[in-house]
Amino acid sequence: MTPAIVLASVFGQFSDGLDFLVHQRESVAGGVQVGGSTMWPLLGKHLEVVGLSMLFAVLVAVPLGLYLGHTRRGDFLASSISNVGRSVPAIAIVLFFSSYLGLSLVNLVFAMALLAIPPIFTNTYVGVRQVDGDVVDAARGMGLSGLQTVGKVELPLALPLVFGGIRTSVVNVIATATLGPFAGVVTLGDPIINASVYGEAGRIGTAILVAALAVTAEILFAALQRAVTPAALRPQRRGLRERLRTSPRLAQVADTPT
Amino acid sequence: MTSADTAHPEGPSANRQAATLELRHISKRYPGSDAPAITDLSLEVAAGEICVLVGPSGCGKTTAMRLVNRMIEPTSGDILVDGRSIIDRKPSELRREIGYAIQQIGLFPHQTVAENIATVPKLLGWEKRRVAARVEELMELIGLESAMAARYPAQLSGGQRQRVGVARALAGDPPLLLMDEPFGAIDPINRERLQNEFLRLQGEIRKTVVFVTHDIDEAIKMGDRIAVMRKGGVLAQYAPPAELLMAPADAFVEDFVGADRALKRLALQRVRDIDLWDVPIVRVGDSAAEARRLAAASPIQHVLLVDGERRPVSWLQPTDLTGDRVEYHEGRVTMVELDDILRDALADLLQGQVMYGVVTDHGGRVAGVLSVEIISEFLAHQASGQIDEAPTPAERLA
């Protein structure tokens, strides 16, 4: 085959994949309609799983990170949790939970929350720890209670990093949710995993959709992260070098693609 | 250097002829900046001399130095080393022939002391054996034990690092040496020692040196000639230290040199250059009666107890000399060295809160006594107007 033909074939498969997203068609084995508007329930389920597991993860990781950061305990936990977390295959956790607890949405959400907690926890912890000790001291000196110190000083100053962690986890969870079918939950992962039903076009089209979803979330949450950064802490237009060095993404060496 | 007397000034690989240096109408203007960094700077440095560039921060002294090895390119003008323009030289090759030492030293943390010192010889493509011999020679020259050769910079003290930095700059036996505040990051006591060591070293190796400092005292101590620079890289005065102190060219130089320039002249003389007092010395076991007689005859009313090597041990007054024989006494003696400049020696006396300091030679043996009186007489004599033709810093040590 000449390169031109290969290119044409690749292009054909991609455009067929995009067509799958727009127009409903019959499944490979026949009898069932796939693609087009039938993708909406899959997208809905996907977002539901992402939303629930993120909610759960934030509710656990942020208070824990704030508490340990405020009391200045947990350096070891913060570093080891992200190191171990990286090498555990997401599919192993998803399958492990469903094999013990059965196939259900709750189990999937629980497994994915476990994967989402480490980056949020680590970033929150680091965010609180990096608050200038003098500032905390001054707050205490002015008579703020422990809880007030957290709420009025430490949390606002740590917020950019907290959102950095959330941003990392959202992208991770959008990716991991594609493993839903292994736990019996039909997410956008289904057409990718079960190409024998949806066809090659379904696999490629959905893969493009999921990629777009992840990139959109990344951009959206990057903007959100900027928005929660107090104006005084917001970087002026600086050189690329400095931005590279101080960008919150740099603090996320712990983030894991999935 | 502590072991300079054992070094080989004419070692196997050392002592290329020093070079002359000439800056001709050098100007430097950075793009986007209105004020020039260097304005029409011309100066000549004779072979084997130390030229100190001194001035307030932002006067362009470091820029001027960095022009010489083309770390910075001039906007106009020419620089000649040994009469040859450097503008058509390949920068990296030019730099290998010019020693380079900076305040932050810039030792390579991942290389041992020996590897650091060997940098330029390796760049010059010397064969292994010659490099090893040169490293060993330099270690000795700067007074570091050979066991230190395998250490890493992180394992050295600040002073040791500075010595290694100087050794590294000298390793390729460059005829010209650039030093940018080489002792700036060292505490005052060690700085004084390193300055003395370097001057003693210079007495042997006779390099042409461009030395940058912001400290006028250091400039006066180190320089054969001093270039005082002011903002915009303008040369205010270029003269030997004595002339700078006696006849500042204008108000700026006068102000920069300071109101205490009479005192600063103490930096131009060494203890060995002035007449010291003799000191009566006794040893353990000498006749006590004789010692009492010596003390009474001395203007100091004391005798100095020394050990077998003529090294001072303690001052003794007549009340210490009661028995038949002189006995051992524990004591505290303020000592200065023959090679110290008078300013530093006076500081030592004042710090020790004593009127007299025992002067020792290189081996720590007693050479005489220096008193605050001697120094004040010297100052009074100088103030009467004669300028002695001051010897060069290295000559004063030779």
């Binding site: 690749v10 498969q13 991609f14 190191n83 990286r86 090498s87 555990v88 295959p89 997401a90 599919i91 192993a92 399958l95 492990f96 094999s99 959008i174 990716a175 594609t178 292994f182 992962g189 990718i192 995993i193 079960n194 190409a195 696999r203 490629i204 959905t206 893969a207 999921v210 990629a211 992840a214 990139v215 690329l240 070098r241 590279l244 993404r249 740099l250 060496v253 894991t256 693609p257 999935t258 | 090895n69 920068p91 990296s92 730099r95 290998r96 380079y100 900076i102 932050q104 030293i105 810039g106 030792l107 390579f108 943390p109 991942h110 330029v120 760049l123 890493y152 992180a154 394992q155 590294r168």
Partner: protein
């Protein structure tokens, strides 16, 4: 491929048939069948090592380019950042029409995830080399090339290695999904029987052990290669 559990029913002969029949966690079964995991483990190692090496070579080349042309840092970080964001399952699938089913597709996808981390760490390592050491190197007459290889890169090694370590452990985890691209590995072993706990646990634990082993290996090599860091304490 639907339903997956029917793809392949494993040989379940073992001393305690009831445990196996209930898809439980059966140490005896694992002991008898651990040999079946060696070939997928080896493939997993291949996937990881080849991807990290390829990622390193590409990121290194990009870093050398960006070192002199600083404007490249933004675009390189942006593009590799997008690659990093794309879910691996999706990327494996997207690559299929282009590079086909197999090892190569797996390696390409895994490599693309390493670029950002390694590139960022090489740049940070080079940027953190003390200015004084760089100035001294140039001042003593090193050419740009000599300065890079004799001074800057050796001093950047700790940060570069840190990046490679993150990339390696991450890749071990991600390679468990490479089966989608037909690249094999321990993930392939997991999905041959996704209800059998012994199978899932064995394959997952091998993944984690592999990551830990590779991490220690790199760390040990770095310790041995950098005596000056130990000297610095």
């Amino acid at each position: 491929m639907l339903p997956l559990a029917q793809v392949h029913i494993r040989d379940r002969t073992a001393q305690d048939p009831s445990c196996v029949a209930q898809n439980g966690f059966c140490p005896d079964w694992i002991r008898d069948h651990i040999g079946d995991y060696m070939s997928p483990l080896l493939r997993h190692v291949e996937l990881t090592v080849v991807s990290v090496l390829a990622g390193f070579v590409i990121a290194f080349a990009l870093a050398l380019l960006a070192r002199r042309r600083r404007w490249l840092i933004g675009p390189v970080t942006g593009v590799t950042g997008v690659m990093y964001t794309i879910p691996s399952l999706a990327l494996f699938a997207i690559l299929l029409p282009i590079t086909g089913f197999g090892f190569v597709t797996g390696v390409i996808a895994l490599t693309s995830y390493n670029l950002l981390v390694i590139f960022r760490n090489i740049m940070a390592g080079l940027d953190n080399v003390p200015e004084a050491a760089k100035d001294a190197a140039t001042g003593m007459g090193m050419t740009d090339h000599q300065r890079l290889w004799q001074v800057e890169l050796p001093l950047a090694i700790p940060e570069i290695v840190a990046g490679v370590r993150v990339a390696t452990t991450t890749t071990v985890g991600l390679a468990a999904l490479a089966f989608i691209a037909g690249a094999g590995g321990l993930g392939q072993q997991i999905i041959t029987d996704i209800v059998f706990k012994s199978n899932i646990v064995t394959a997952s634990v091998l993944c984690i052990l592999l990551a830990a082993a590779l991490d220690l290996l790199i760390l040990g090599a770095q310790r041995a290669a950098l005596p000056w860091r130990r000297a610095a304490g």
